[in-house]
Assembly symmetry: none
Homo-oligomer: 542 residues x 2
């Protein structure tokens, strides 16, 4: 890895503005503040907070942030250029922008002649004046200006001369950063490289080794190349990169900073954030997905739960001996973890590695180990799958080593669901034995599984009051042999929670109710185990 001569990259996060354009994502003021502080800890240089002229919630965000200031990041307010035919100092949008009280502002203007004429319905000359006027006015108000050249690449392809004139206007008016935007997300990396080079050819003073204004890049993922496009621009000379956490954004999203940052820093030698801050990347990704209430993508590059997951026997022993033969980076560098997946193809070394990750030191020649492997293979042939049910796997290991505590015995269950005169009912009755005593309890629920869960917790609640804090937090069903329809085997995965920890269990049966009950029972059992023991690391694992 050769370190580039001028290696500092200004990371510009727009999760709170462009990211919030994602369909289905909505942020409260408190959400925005939490995310801003989280980005600040990650070490991004700029945080685009919103468009104060267009959204009253965004105005409040900037005010609140003055009460709870960031440690190191610059918060940036976003706005368009002034409107056609107006005076910059009298434009309402620019007034609102100034009222946000930030040092830095981002102004976006049109680069594509077609959008000027058809969208703004003004002349090409007036658009140039709008750009320079707005920036010059903001400079007189002591603002530092980032200029977003909207639709830059499409505009350049349509009319390169005019597009370059818009940049000249922004540079001359005093913008410190000129950001080339692939607004429609249609570019491929080679186009980005060529066009950034053409810009530097026209404006050599924007080159990274010059003092004065610098180039930035803003890409979208409509061609699934947003990350590669951002990198191509940096390699061609851009020194600011726009993106969002987890790639959130309109349509197919923006460039994903969770991939852009480690690619630039670990693979190309650029400086984006501190080494210790990079180790916060996985936590940042997951916290943001939690705050915006979107399920994290387990298969995300660098930060996904499966990003460093390994299957298969030989493979696993090799990865433990020399991780870089099977991993492109060390997962710790981005705060992620290696995971050994237990699957059909598992060998003994997988089981041993997995046991170690649960703090159990099984020996290869320990008979418990062979028993465990045999039991595992038998269960897997019945359709059990432990990849996503680590709590069930832990119980299985404890069973093999004689270390599984015994909280209760299951006896019978009955579930009754009915619809009568349009009224739905679900009632469950369970019989369990605790310390030798049979207990019969019933409960109702929205459906059969919640009724069973409620009845079981009611039955054992007087012995183990902790179970009243447990709840089902996710429930997944998979039919194992599609061709056999409802008489096929059903695999149910249940995720349980005690408020602070979450764990997953599995059940398999030809009867969906029985499969669900197995998973629910193990969920409760594991919750009790966690309570009894020092909280296991494993339960907190993502």
């Amino acid at each position: 890895m050769t370190r580039p001569a001028s290696a500092a990259i200004a990371v510009y996060d727009t999760t709170l503005r462009d990211g919030a354009q994602r369909e289905g994502l909505s942020l409260s003021l408190e959400d925005k503040l939490r995310i801003a502080h989280c980005l600040d800890r990650l070490g991004v240089k700029f945080i685009e907070g919103g468009w104060p002229g267009a959204n009253p919630k965004d105005v409040q965000f900037f005010w609140e942030l003055q009460q709870r200031p960031l440690q190191q990041a610059e918060v940036v307010a976003f706005c368009s250029t002034r409107r056609p035919g107006q005076i910059a100092g009298e434009d309402e949008l620019l007034k609102a922008l100034l009222a946000a009280g930030t040092t830095w502002v981002t102004i976006f203007g049109k680069s594509w002649d077609l959008h000027v004429v058809e969208g703004l319905k003004t002349s090409l000359d007036e658009n140039l004046v709008m750009i320079s006027d707005s920036i010059a006015y903001l400079r007189t108000c002591d603002r530092r200006v980032i200029y977003d050249a909207e639709h830059w690449f499409d505009g350049y392809l349509a009319n390169p001369d005019y597009a370059l004139q818009t940049l000249a206007a922004a540079i001359e008016a005093g913008a410190e950063w000129i950001v080339l935007c692939d607004t429609n997300g249609g570019c491929l990396p080679h186009q980005i490289s060529e066009i950034v080079a053409a810009v530097l050819d026209r404006f050599p003073s924007l080159a990274p080794d010059q003092t004065g204004p610098q180039l930035g890049i803003h890409t979208h993922n409509d061609s699934e190349t947003a990350v590669a496009n951002a990198i191509a621009a940096v390699q061609a000379g851009a020194r600011m990169v726009h993106g969002t956490i987890n790639g959130y954004g309109e349509r197919c999203g923006n460039a994903n900073l969770c991939s852009v940052i480690p690619n630039l820093q670990l693979k190309l030698g650029y400086d984006c954030v501190e080494t210790e801050q990079l180790m916060q990347l996985t936590a940042t990704s997951r916290l943001v997905s939690e705050i915006v209430n979107l399920a994290p993508d387990d298969h995300a590059a660098y930060v996904g739960q499966s990003a460093f997951a390994h299957k298969g026997g030989i493979h696993v022993s090799a990865v433990e001996r020399n991780p870089l033969t099977y991993e492109h980076i060390r997962p710790e560098q981005v705060g992620n973890l290696r995971r050994i997946v237990i699957s059909e193809q598992s060998g003994l070394s997988n089981v041993l590695a997995k046991a170690r990750s649960f703090g159990l030191d099984l020996q290869r020649n320990d008979p418990a180990c062979r028993d465990l492997l045999a039991r595992l293979k038998e269960l897997e042939s019945q359709g059990y799958q432990f990849e996503a049910a680590e709590a069930s796997f832990d119980l299985l290991m404890r069973e093999a080593t004689g270390d599984r505590p015994h909280f209760f015995d299951l006896k019978d269950f009955h579930v009754h669901c009915s619809k009568q005169r349009q009224e739905l009912n679900a009632l469950a009755t369970v019989k369990v034995a605790v310390t030798g005593r049979d207990i019969l309890e019933s409960a109702e629920g929205n459906g059969p599984v919640s009724a069973l869960d409620a009845a079981l917790r009611k039955a054992i609640g007087s012995f183990y009051p902790a179970v009243m804090q447990f709840h089902l937090s996710d429930y997944k069903v998979r039919i194992l042999d599609g061709a056999a329809g409802t008489s096929a085997k059903t695999r149910v995965l249940v995720e349980s929670s005690n408020g602070s920890q979450r764990w997953s269990t599995v059940g398999v049966s030809g009867n969906i109710i029985e499969a669900s009950y197995q998973a629910v029972v193990e969920g409760i059992e594991y919750g009790l185990l966690l309570q009894q023991q020092a909280p296991l690391q494993a339960a907190e694992k993502p």
Copy 2:
């Protein structure tokens, strides 16, 4: 767009082999066969079906496929080179490979010296002989050979001379395609370009304008650049691209063919599939995600539900006036739709288009059309989804146009499941009215849904004897709001069959039994409708 001189790209799909390595994805034999036929319709050139030596299910897949042959794609069996120190003709893995009976086979071998010594624990020379022996033997057995150079890019960076020797061995032994694999997914596009150029420099006969063996590329998404990497390789001279539908694959997945194909074809002028086949891309993506029971990514490039979604007034009128100002391609080119968020207009044309696909010629100003749209929006907001439940959608349309036949009225149902002394029971009782008469019937089943299905068919069987031929052929469950656990809404998809036709229906409820019953009831109703009418084409649609 300049069309490259040699523009034909061999698309090589490995969803069924490498894609199936994705954590949480498991494919039944029937799933694999359905996906293979779906890929065949999409027009991919090669379909990698599995590793017959490593997995008995894969052997059966190849045999079954001989009974239901593909129209145009070549099915490929996958295997490693022979083992160290063995004779190729006696290697069990190669025997199993040959037993698959395919014309084309893919053999993977080691490129990275470290993996040869540490992984295979053999000498560098023996590895070269393993490659050439295995390929030469398969050639004598009349197989056409694709050679996957595993860990190629890392191997080349570690020891370029040795890595190139492995390719030389494969070329000399008669491989027709040399596929460079970024197995760990750590490369960035510029590295791919440079290394592919270096390979062509060493082996000029592999260039696209030469006759004889050609280069291929196989990339993984660990740096979130798999798609860009594949494109970089094609631009540098590769003419085969490996990938999977929806980018499924181990860890962070493989190159996503749903993005690679349109990028190459629509933006760079390469020929991957026919223009009409490309219009099947979105349907293929969604059907495959249904078959593997993974939620489709709404934000996926090209094929996602949000990929061409537009918000806001001005923007929307601009996009309707001149779509290419806000869209990088026309959504129809990949079979996707523009979605105007919060606009009845777009919904209406959608409904009209869908109705046409069922042979119903609804008019835009027909009041039935407005009613249908309103009902559809209401149902979708409750969690119904008709993408994969076209029979339910057809019933809905017939309802709006007054064309839905009335076979029976549902009254009550009761389902009882129990486990007593380890014995599982499932019993259902239904009350339905046929021609004004109430009928009460009960039946047992393996689980609650099969019991309900049996009871209902028993109840109406004396009026409609055809129902005794119907059966449930698939059953899928999805929880719509994961965060709320079992009290969340459940969507059930049921596939029914009458032996010659298959059709899918949907049900949604907070109670899984009720949701299942809805789907089962519509399944039986639709079967009767099919019987009554001339068999609808639509029923066979995926």
